[in-house]
């Protein structure tokens, strides 16, 4: 059996004991008939004596509870029962000691009075013990709930990261198939063109690889990725796909969300130019306006009405922007006059 009591808890227990004894001793002052028979000084002296008696009992009760606490019993009904037993035993011992100091008149049955007082201590001590325990357990539950909430937030963050990771890790399957099938066919008919396409595609993968690894990229890297992508497709689509890049060189080092530009470029080709036999023009332009970077992808394609797809790609992009920048970033889709779609991403410029 290991007995160990920390001085802090000893001091706290003592403080609570004195305060409880003081509160209980005020019962003496609520006996109005005393004031009629005794002078005030006598009442106060009597109160002090009564306080000493109560303090004796409370002190012995707390000593017993401290002893039970020092046993470090496993929490449960047995531990509670031990504490209640300590209250009863302490009250009995304390009241017996008080009785020994100031005996009752001979005609009063001492055992009955003793029993009634112990019962009273049991009710008071039991209530106090219940309050103490409930407060402590509530505090424990509150800190556990807080801890759990923190973990949940952490998990949500990890989930968002994993989601982003999987978005980044994929290469658009249609693009991949069509390109490889084209390369395969071209090597049979026009090996030189097949080689050009394969080299461009390898260039695209080389540009895409860093994006798939990192959390944030620069506008320059994103632009390079889009350029490679468009070049690969140009081999296949020929004159049907024309593109212009208008991005000032000093903007290339600004941070930009990964694969955001790719998503818009892929959309412009897939839903804009592809449905039209004559194809069209894609313009990518970036501007710095104050502390906000605006990147615009405009096509002269089929337009909003004809644009197929479920819009999941754009919804994903919106979600990614919201995850990265909150309200500070925006994505707008509007008609590009006289025809086509104009998609605009605006992100705040980060200082670092």
């Amino acid at each position: 059996m290991q007995l160990s009591v920390r001085p802090g808890s000893l001091l706290r227990g003592g403080g609570i004991a004195v305060a409880a004894a003081f509160a209980l001793s005020t019962q003496f002052l609520f006996q109005l008939e005393l004031y009629e028979t005794w002078p005030l000084a006598g009442v106060l002296r009597g109160w002090l004596d009564y306080f000493a008696e109560v303090l004796t009992v409370v002190g012995i009760v707390f000593a017993g509870m401290g002893f039970v606490a020092s046993l470090h019993l496993a929490p449960g009904a047995r531990r509670h029962a031990m504490f209640v037993a300590a209250i009863a035993a302490g009250a009995l011992a304390g009241e017996a000691a008080v009785l020994a100091q100031a005996p009752l008149p001979p005609d009063v049955p001492a055992a009955g009075v003793l029993l009634a007082k112990v019962a009273r201590w049991l009710v008071l001590g039991g209530l106090g013990y219940a309050v103490f325990n409930l407060v402590r357990r509530s505090a424990t539950a509150a800190s556990q709930a807080h801890e759990s909430e923190l973990q949940r937030i952490q998990l949500e963050r990890q989930t968002a990261e994993a989601h982003l990771q999987s978005l980044r890790a994929q290469i658009e399957p249609h693009f991949l198939f069509n390109t490889l099938a084209n390369v395969h066919r071209l090597y049979r008919t026009d090996p030189e063109l097949g080689r050009t396409m394969l080299v461009d595609f390898i260039g695209y993968l080389r540009a895409a690889l860093p994006q798939m690894r990192s959390d944030e990229t620069t506008l320059g890297q994103e632009l390079e990725l889009a350029r490679c992508y468009l070049k690969v497709l140009q081999v296949r689509m020929g004159d049907r796909l024309r593109f212009q890049l208008d991005v000032p060189g000093d903007l290339a080092s600004l941070r930009f969300p990964p694969l955001a530009l790719s998503t818009l470029t892929e959309n412009a080709v897939k839903h804009g130019l592809n449905p039209l036999p004559e194809g069209g023009l894609i313009e990518i332009a970036a501007r710095l306006e104050g502390r906000r970077l605006t990147v615009r992808v405009a096509d002269t394609g089929a337009g909003i009405r004809q644009a197929g797809g479920s819009g999941v790609g754009l919804a994903n992009l919106r979600a990614r922007l919201a995850a990265l920048y909150g309200q500070a970033a925006s994505l707008s889709i509007e008609a590009n006059l006289p025809r086509g779609i104009r998609a605009t991403i605006t992100v705040p410029v980060r200082s670092e």
Binding site: V113, L127, Q144, E156, S166, Q170, P173, H184, R188, P191
Partner: protein
């Protein structure tokens, strides 16, 4: 318990129960001192009526206070107010009611009727106020902190559930991320090989390309089927 509107009847009943406990304690204390032969039952009844009524008013006060701050829990200060009002106003009111109405109607005898010497009503009121403050205060505190404890446990449980849900979602997303991956490194290296191979052994390169396309088609079809496609 969480979310249930506090019932006034419940707090009134709880108050009466508390009063009953006090009455029992008082009875145990005074019975050996004052009881004449055979008067035990009458004494106990009168104590239960007197203390039960005072406890009931205290419970009513706590219940009324609780109603005004619903749906939050009472603060410690509000609880203290309820106990003070219930004791300081409730005890004299109930004592007056017992003295003026019950005593003459039902022949109810009271503790002071049993005492040898005459006991002033005011001193009984004062003494009862003190007992009500201490016992009622403690009982109300136990009730309040028990409610807090229950509410906190419910909060903890829902937090745990939310955490488990997040954990499950994370595992799903990670699995989907793993499945959705066409290893770009692998592809990159394969295509570089192919490019070199087309220079030297075009026929081999042609066959290899067919195999690569077939492999990717299978891999991506599996990914689609598993529902992890993210488009």
């Amino acid at each position: 318990m969480n979310g249930a509107r506090p019932e006034l009847l419940l707090s009134i009943g709880g108050g009466w129960l508390l009063g009953g406990v006090i009455a029992l304690l008082e009875f145990a204390y005074y019975y050996p001192l004052v009881a004449p032969d055979g008067a035990g039952a009458g004494l106990l009844l009168s104590l239960v009526i007197v203390w039960g009524g005072e406890g009931m008013i205290l419970g009513l006060a706590v219940g009324l206070f609780e109603r005004t701050v619903w749906p939050r829990l009472l603060s410690v200060g509000q609880l203290l107010c309820a106990v003070l009002v219930g004791s300081l106003a409730g005890v004299p009111a109930w004592q007056a009611f017992v003295e003026g109405v019950l005593r003459d109607r039902f022949g109810l005898r009271r503790l002071r009727d049993y005492m040898g010497q005459p006991v002033d009503l005011a001193s009984i009121v004062f003494y009862n106020i003190w007992l009500m403050l201490i016992f009622g205060g403690l009982a109300a505190a136990a009730y309040l902190f028990w409610q807090r404890h229950v509410r906190m446990l419910a909060q903890l449980r829902s937090a745990e559930l939310a955490r488990e849900e997040s954990q499950r979602r994370l595992a799903q997303t990670q699995l989907a991320a793993l499945r959705a991956r066409v290893d770009p490194d692998f592809l990159f290296r394969a295509l570089q090989c192919l490019e070199r191979l087309y220079e030297s052994h075009a026929a081999d390169a042609d066959r290899l390309m067919e195999e690569l396309i077939a492999f990717l088609r299978t891999a991506l079809a599996e990914e689609r089927a598993s529902g992890s496609a993210l488009y």
